[in-house]
Amino acid sequence: MDSAAHGRTSGDGRMPWYYGARLYVYILPTFVFIGIFAYYPSLSAIYHSFFNWNGSNIKDYVGLANFRRIFLNDRDLLVASWHMLLFVSANLVLQIPSILLAVVLYHLRNKRVQYWFRMVFVIPMVVPGMVGMLLWMFIYNPQVGLLNRALAGLGIIPSPFDGPTWLADTRLAMPSLMFMGFPYINPIALLIYLAGLERIPRDLNDSALIDGASAWQRLVRVELPMILGQVKLMLILGIIGGVQDYGRVLIMTGGGPSDATTVPGLIMYNTAFRYAQMGYASAIGVVMFLVILGLTVLNMRYFRTHEAS
């Protein structure tokens, strides 16, 4: 893709053999690192997914037994996959606030006020993710948390202690996790959408105004098409993130109460680090990898055809 070799040739047009060798020396450290700490683990995961393996002394080849168990014989994983689908759907729906807010922010005439709002909406990106999650755990705290205090303050429940127990309630735990983070503004998405909207040519908007297009028409015909690529990217990232994320569940509920909030990643984690079934856990990892790979490839195809048309 780059232009051909930078004419690093000596007089007769031939490079000395050691000239090229130097280049390999330069890139060697990178490849040593990724060879040992990235490639080896990936191959090891695929290899061990065909074994009954406890990570050390027990290692028996079992063929496809792990995969059969995943698809035919693991009720926990089935429940977890349903939760995963719920998380993915929530991720997709919760993209909408960022899009709408970006459009509203873009239309704000006062640029100083716009700048300040942008700063405020970016704050969650600047605060460590763990702090954000722990703050939401506090918000859901049934005795002293912000949510039940607010409900009590509004007179909806008699006192914070009488309110729902949110993350500890079997029926409420899933929705509580899915819908934490109100008002669901993704700072990176917001910045990307704003950058896309800023690129709308002035005359396009002006002509839409002259034509008497309503705000809704402008949104659908001018603004959304302008950021469609970015929106699609965020949707696919939302799907992939929803499939593999289990940090939130691990921290906030540990998958509980009972199995009310388990997800496949968490099952893999527990299978490996609690029950030392490293082979079966590796197989779960491989299946999730294939799902994510499929989504990525699908996404690349989709993008290509879109660009070509």
């Binding site: 780059d2 930078h6 090229g20 130097r22 280049l23 390999y24 330069y26 890139i27 450290p29 990178t30 490849f31 690192f33 990724i34 040992i36 700490f37 990235a38 683990p41 990936s42 090891s44 995961a45 990570g55 509203v104 239309h107 704000l108 709002f117 405020v120 909406f121 990106m125 600047v126 605060v127 460590p128 993710g129 763990m130 722990l134 703050l135 755990m137 918000i139 002293v144 912000l146 008002p183 503004i185 910045l191 990307i192 704003l194 950058a195 896309g196 690129r199 705000a215 970015q230 593999q244 940090g247 691990l250 984690y269 680090f273 990892g285 999730m288 990898f289 994510i292 790979l293 990525t296």
Partner: protein, 272 residues
């Protein structure tokens, strides 16, 4: 017309202000609680009440400072080492032709498609066998490897875009290839190197699963905060002060560099 547009502007402002309010509430409540003792906390959390309990910040600092130091050490080493190695590799891929170049490059970027979830278990077993579990090395070595993939990919694109004439002129003057990398490529790439450095620091600061698995004794900020929250379930004031203190380094980092980080995201996204 003017009236309706003013009204529309006010409506937009109200909507944005409402969203901003809800974005800020958790952080405001964090600051408010961090200045309260237990009695004040049970009474009301919406705003700080006197007397302000400043000693919460002393307690919070004592609790989280080891985590902050651990995380800063890991972040600094990973950032410097990974950027040093990846920039040289990216430079070679951007500037030179050599046998095996294309397959090697693809072998590298194919790792971008491999999710961490596939590698977690064998990485743990590997770290265990190398005797790294529970030490900073378990974090440093694996992070240096994984960060390099993204860094090489982005830097190679950036280096390829630098004007070739600069390198050719230096070549004429007899500058070696290392010299060209060091005195031309790197200085022209300060902003992208800075952006990548920030991304790596933020990554190390926020990563949770790998440190939990591999370095539970060497607690980073994420692990430490989750641990403290479980241990001290009633001392909310010092805990929230600890959250605030643990957030400060990233906030400082961003406030210094936000302007071009925002630009970086915007331009990078448009290219993508």
């Amino acid at each position: 017309m003017a009236l309706t547009s003013r009204r529309a502007e006010a409506a937009k402002f109200t909507l944005l202000a409402g969203a901003a309010f809800f974005v800020l509430v958790p952080f405001w409540v964090m600051i408010s609680i961090s200045l309260k003792d237990l009695r004040q906390f049970l009474d009301n959390i919406l705003y700080p009440t006197s007397p302000f309990q400043w000693q919460n910040y002393v307690e919070g600092w004592e609790a989280v400072s080891p985590y902050i130091i651990n995380t800063l050490v890991v972040a600094a080493v990973v950032t410097v080492v990974s950027l040093t190695l990846s920039s040289l590799t990216a430079y070679v891929f951007a500037r030179y032709e050599f046998p095996g170049k294309t397959p090697l490059f693809y072998a590298l970027i194919v790792l971008l498609m491999i999710p961490g979830i596939l590698n977690l278990i064998p990485q743990y077993v590997l770290a265990l066998r190398l005797g790294l579990v529970g030490t900073a090395w378990a974090l440093i070595l694996f992070y240096v490897a994984s960060r390099q993939v993204l860094e090489v990919y982005i830097l190679r694109t950036f280096f390829s875009g630098l004007p070739k004439e600069l390198f050719e002129a230096a070549q004429m003057d007899g500058a070696s290839d290392i010299r060209q990398y060091w005195s031309i490529a790197l200085p022209l790439s300060k902003s992208i190197l800075g952006t990548l450095a920030i991304m790596t620091v933020v990554f190390v600061w926020n990563d949770y699963i790998w440190p939990l698995v591999a370095a539970d004794n060497f607690k980073t900020v994420s692990i430490g905060l989750a641990y403290l929250t479980k241990q001290h379930s009633t001392s909310w004031g010092p805990l929230m002060a600890g959250y605030a203190i643990a957030s400060l380094p990233l906030i400082l980092l961003f406030s210094v560099t936000m302007r071009y980080f925002v630009e970086g995201i915007a331009t990078g996204a448009i290219k993508a």
